[in-house]
Symmetry: C2
Amino acid sequence: MRAMFKELNPPSRVLMGPGPSDVHPRVLKAMATPLIGHLDPSFLQIMNETMELMRTVFETKNELTLAMSGTGSSGMETVFVNLLEPGDKVVIGVNGLFGERMVDVAERCGAEVIRIEASWGDIIRPEQVEEVLQEHAGVKAVAVVHAETSTGALQPLSEISQLVHEHEALLIVDAVTSLGGVKVGIDENEVDACYSGTQKCISAPPGLSPVTFSRRAAEAMAKRKSKVQSWYLDLSMIQNYWGQERFYHHTAPISMNYALREALRIVMEEGLENTWERHWKLGRALQSGLEGMGLSLHVAENIRLPQLTSVYIPDGVEDTLVRKQLLEQYGIEIGGGLGALKGKVWRVGLMGFSCQPRNVLLFLAALEEVLAQQGAHVRRGEGRTIAAEIIQK
Amino acid sequence: MRAMFKELNPPSRVLMGPGPSDVHPRVLKAMATPLIGHLDPSFLQIMNETMELMRTVFETKNELTLAMSGTGSSGMETVFVNLLEPGDKVVIGVNGLFGERMVDVAERCGAEVIRIEASWGDIIRPEQVEEVLQEHAGVKAVAVVHAETSTGALQPLSEISQLVHEHEALLIVDAVTSLGGVKVGIDENEVDACYSGTQKCISAPPGLSPVTFSRRAAEAMAKRKSKVQSWYLDLSMIQNYWGQERFYHHTAPISMNYALREALRIVMEEGLENTWERHWKLGRALQSGLEGMGLSLHVAENIRLPQLTSVYIPDGVEDTLVRKQLLEQYGIEIGGGLGALKGKVWRVGLMGFSCQPRNVLLFLAALEEVLAQQGAHVRRGEGRTIAAEIIQK
C-alpha cells in the first residue's frame, strides 16, 4: 500500500475572491525559511516583534495581542470561549453569514444569545443596540462584524461602542476582512476583543488568527468561575507562552509566524494609512468600473467596503459558468454568493497584495469578455475607462 | 506609530528536540508555492491526494481521515470534543504530560474521567485497563498515548485494543510523535480515533493535525444528542468540506497542506517500513552511543522509542547551561525535561528528516565536548565508536 502522487504543481491564479488573497513573494520566501524551535530564544524574539507589528496594525497598546494557531474562525471561537461562561448574556448583530456564525459559536458556549437583525448587505444601527441594551439587563458583551465578508458591508463602530460601554458591556468585533484594508482603530473605538485573519488584507497565507483584548476584557477573563471549555484556545495558558513566562502550551506554527511577520513588515513599509488609501481608491475604481459596465452593486455606497464588492449577477447569466470561465480561461478567482445571496451576487475581493491597479483592469476586462460570450448586455469598455481614470488620478 | 523590524534572519539550527524536527528542502519549497483558493478545484484535488497519503501513513482505510487546521493539540481536542458528551465515561492512561493533557481536555468536555496511572517513563499495562473496565460499566472510550513525548515511552496497543473492544468501548490513540517514526497500524490495531502532528516524524512545519476515525467512531459521533462544543473543530461540518459536498466551513491553511502533501510524498518515496527501520536503527545508535559515553537512559529498553530519547543529566552538570551551549556553540536544539523530569533528563529527538546518521554523530560529539567543558566524567570517543558501528552495519 503506497500512495504516489506527482510533484506539487498548482495552477497560477489571481486571487480576487473573499480570501485568501495573493501573497507577496517576500512572504512566500519567508515561508521557505528553515525552522527553528518554538522555544528557541530567537523564535521568542520573532514572536515579540510580531506582537508589536500586530499591535500597530490593530492600532492598539493592548498587551494581550497575539496570533492564535488556527484560521480566523479559531480567533472567533477564542474570543467567545474565553469571554463567555454558561448563562452569560451576549448581544450579537446578525447581518450576514459571519454574524450567524458568531451566534452558533456563542450558543455552543452555553451563552444566552440576543440577536439584533439587519438584512444581508445592511448594517446594525446604534438605535437597535440601544433598544436591546435597555430591554435586557446584565448583558456581558455585544458583538458586531466590522467587515461582513458575505456581503461587503462596513459596520461603523464608534457610536455602538459608546452605547455598549455606557451599559458596562464589552464590545467584540470581527475584523477578519477589515484589518489592514480599512481603519479598525481598536483603542480609538474602545474595542474590547477583536479577532482577524491573515489571508485577507494582511496577505499572509491562512493559518493564524491575530487577536487583541483590552484590559477590561482581560479583567473579565481573570474573573471567570469556570475553566475555558477549549484547552487549545485557552488564553489563560496561551498568554503565558506569548508573555514573559514563555511557558510551553502547544507548538506554535513556526513558518506561519515567519509569514505573518513578513506580511506585517510589508504593511508597515507602505504605512497603514497608505494601505487603507490604496484599498479605498482601487475599491472605488473597481466599483465605479462595474457600474460603468452597467452592473449593479448590492451594498449601499455609504456602507460599502472597498476590499470586498458584492455585484449582482445580470439576468440570464449563469453564476457558476461565469466563475468557471474566469478561473479556467484567465486564472482569476472570485467568490459566489452565500446564503440568501447564493446565485444572486458575485463577491470580488481586492485585498492586500491582490489590491493592485492591474488586477482592477484585468478583472473588468475579463468579466466583460466572459459576459459578452454569454450574450449579456454590458457597455463595452466604459467600465474600464472610468476605472482607469480613478486609478490615474 | 510604525513598528519596524529587520529582515527575517533566524539562526541555522539542527532540530533534535521533541519537535519540531528539521524540514526537508522540498517541503520548504512547497511552502513557498503561490496560493490558490481553498475552494479551487485544484486545491480540492490536492486535499484528496493528501487524504490518501494520510491514510497510507496511518495504515488505514478509514474514510474519515483528514488534517485539522491547527497543531497536534487541536487534533487531541478534536477527538475528545467530537466523541464525548457531558457525562460520558472515558478511561485515560496517564504516564506523562500528554496523558495529563488528555484528562484536562476530556474534563472540559464534561466527561467523567477515570484515570489509569503509570509512572512517567513506564507504560499502561493491559491488566490495568482490564481491571478498570470490569469495575466501571458503560465506558465510552479508552485513551492512551502511543509515543509519550514527555518521556520517550512506546505504548503497545494490540492487547489493550482487544480489551477495549471486548467491553464495547472506543480506543483513542495519541500518535503525535509516533506517526511516521514507528508503526502505528490504525486498522491492524483497531484504533477508533487517532490524532497526530506534522512537525515530528512527518517533518512538515507545525500547523496541521492529521486525524483518522473508524466507522465505529463515526457512528458514535452520528448518534450525538448535543452539538459539539467547538464550532472550529466540529467534524460534522468539517467532513462536508473534506468530503464529496465540498461545503465551505473555514479557510483551510493552503500552504500548510502543500507542505504536508510534500512531506508525506517523501515518506512514501522512502517507503513506510524503510522509514521505521531508519528510525529504529539510528535511535539504537544514539542510545547505545549515549550509554557508551557513560550516561543512563530513563526508559527501559523494551518500551523505548527510537525517535525520542530521555537521557539522565549527569550529576553536577547544569541542565540549562548544557542546552544553551549546544544551541549557541553548535546550533543544536534538544529538549529539557517536563514535569517531574524537569532538570533530571534531556530529551533528544531523531525525528523524520532530523533522523540522519550525521546528526547522531554530531550530537554525540557535541555533547561530549560540552560535558567535558563542565568537568563531567564521560568516556571520550567510546559512545561515538559504538554508534558508528551500528550506523555502518
